[in-house]
Amino acid sequence: MGILGWTYVFVGITFALYIYVAWRSRVSDTKGFYVAGMGVPPVANGMATAADWMSAASFISMAGLISFLGYPGAYYLMGWTGGYVLLALLLAPYLRKFGKYTVPDFVGDRYYSNAARLVAAACTIFVSYTYVCGQMRGVGVVFSRFLEVDINTGVIIGMCIVFIYAALGGMKGITWTQVCQYCVLILAYLIPAIAISMKVTGVPIPQIGFGATIAAGHPDAGKYLLDTLNIIAKDLGFVQYTATFATVNTNMLNVLCITFALMVGTAGLPHVIIRFYTVPGVRQARASAGWALLFIAILYTTAPAVAAFARYNMVNTLNDKPYIERPQWYTNWQKPGLVAWVDKNGDGIIQYRPGAAFVGRPNFKMADGKRVLGKYGQPLLNNKITTNKNELYVDRDIMVLASPEIAGLSAWVVGLVAAGGLAAALSTAAGLLLAVSSSISHDFYYRVINPQATEKQRVLVARIFIGLAIVLAGYFGIYPPAFVAQVVAFAFGLAASSIFPVILLGIFSKKTTREGAICGMVAGILFTGIYIIQTKFMGVGNWFLGITPEGIGTIGMIINLVVTMVVSSFTKAPPQEIQDLVESVRIPRGSGEATDH
């Protein structure tokens, strides 16, 4: 059976599994729909959180990003894991004790204000939606590359699957499918990583392998892999792999700010926070944060190893090699346009050097529905060619997607990677869509518009809104707004500068007032939002200490904290019952019985 056959087998089996699990965990009440009846065991919640958190970007793109960044790639690694320490220590146990359904629930009740509730709900919807668009696109891309269906058909199939299990089982269905999805995605990530580590270094543990020496039979055998990568980089004119703070955007201050913004942003993401409402009690909330981070760490410590192996393999199999002797995987991934070559000096040899080989993504010359080929059989391009010496275009996603082929693994592993990529994208999309629909149906509809709604009406409204949210997400997946990549900085920046600080102060400072929280949120959002719009869309330079938009959430968070504390200090203290609420949140006892499981 070939790659395509195996891919259909794996994707078919996993999809059937997700639907079966969702059918088994269907729900009929709001507690089941929003927080899975608060009966999810910590290990399962840890797995679900890990799948929820690790998106198409973590699975497909992160290793590739690190592979091209080298040392500064650490800000993704530390930023997207360190946030869980903040969650475990500062937010999760207290929010679980509070024990409602959504993030705006806490903000609205703690700050005795529907205005605060609505600001938090708007942030939740915006942050989550920014993310969803990327996931649906990811689903479409995996379908089109591995199953050779049209990208839009892929998005629609993905929408239908998510709709079935999200609308049927709400949080409960999503939780148990995410547990399965975690298992699929981690296997799909580890198997090729271990095989490549074995192949390049002879060490079966990738985390150790990428600090080991290169195995016999490979170029530079016997030398340390990282040293070799540094030498290769130096020879070709790239920044060395382990070099620190080498470019303007990776100076120390900026690396610090980006890492911090990603950590705080992670801790402030609504779809992650609501996962901690689903466990039976405070102790389980703490434990499940630990499990979640452990499960995430398995992938996140493997990713930098995959990055280093991929860089080594790519340079050695392509650079300074004649195009006609290119490896099979190159030909396979040239089809969807993830690699391309322009023979600038006409010598028929692939030169890989710093800089972009041409402007934009590959746009192949076509005639009679076929690609026009050059002298060496390479497809020709319409793109504007740049003047540097680099001739090779490599999409960074290829580092993970093509890794089984680069390592020469069997066809079934490729099928498994496809199923893993889909699991990562679908699990994250489902979690985000639930966060969006619960903010609309619970925080807007039930808490503000129609507080008299019956249980039945509320579940129905939640189902309708999750359906609408999926359709809208699918629309953005098919017609992606040009700015999707740019708005990811927005999601983290906003989570860091709005949601995280108000929850933090709400728990740790009894004297924080409604006025303080609202002013703080608005100040944080305005500063961060305006800075990102200026630097990303209006071409203004990074005017605040040279900090890039990815790291500006750090400053936004500080502004929010300062404004909230200053305004709180001269407004009327919160009513006694709110201060009592804060005190009760600080003590684990009485977190409420589990209703289910």
Partner: protein
């Protein structure tokens, strides 16, 4: 608020502060601010600062949450506020 509960909260804050200090030291200290001096030391093929940035800090994060769960469980029992 009773005296016991106040004391429980104070001890909780102390545990938190220590663990967060380690969290910041390992990631921002060893992984970023001190990365260059640490890179002169090697751990097998890893420059030490690079290792902390891409591997070590993540392991420490996992351990920190584990220690936090253990300490808080003990504290909850000691002050009789557990579930």
């Amino acid at each position: 608020m009773s005296k016991d509960v106040k004391e429980y909260w104070r001890k909780n804050l102390r545990i938190m502060a220590w663990l967060l200090a380690i969290w910041a030291f390992v990631s921002y200290g060893l992984g970023i601010i001190l990365v260059n001096p640490l890179n002169t030391i090697h751990l097998g093929g890893f420059p030490l600062g690079f290792w902390f940035a891409q591997q070590g800090s993540i392991y420490v994060f996992v351990l920190l949450i584990l220690v936090y769960c253990k300490l808080m469980r003990k504290l909850d029992r000691e002050y009789d506020v557990d579930e």
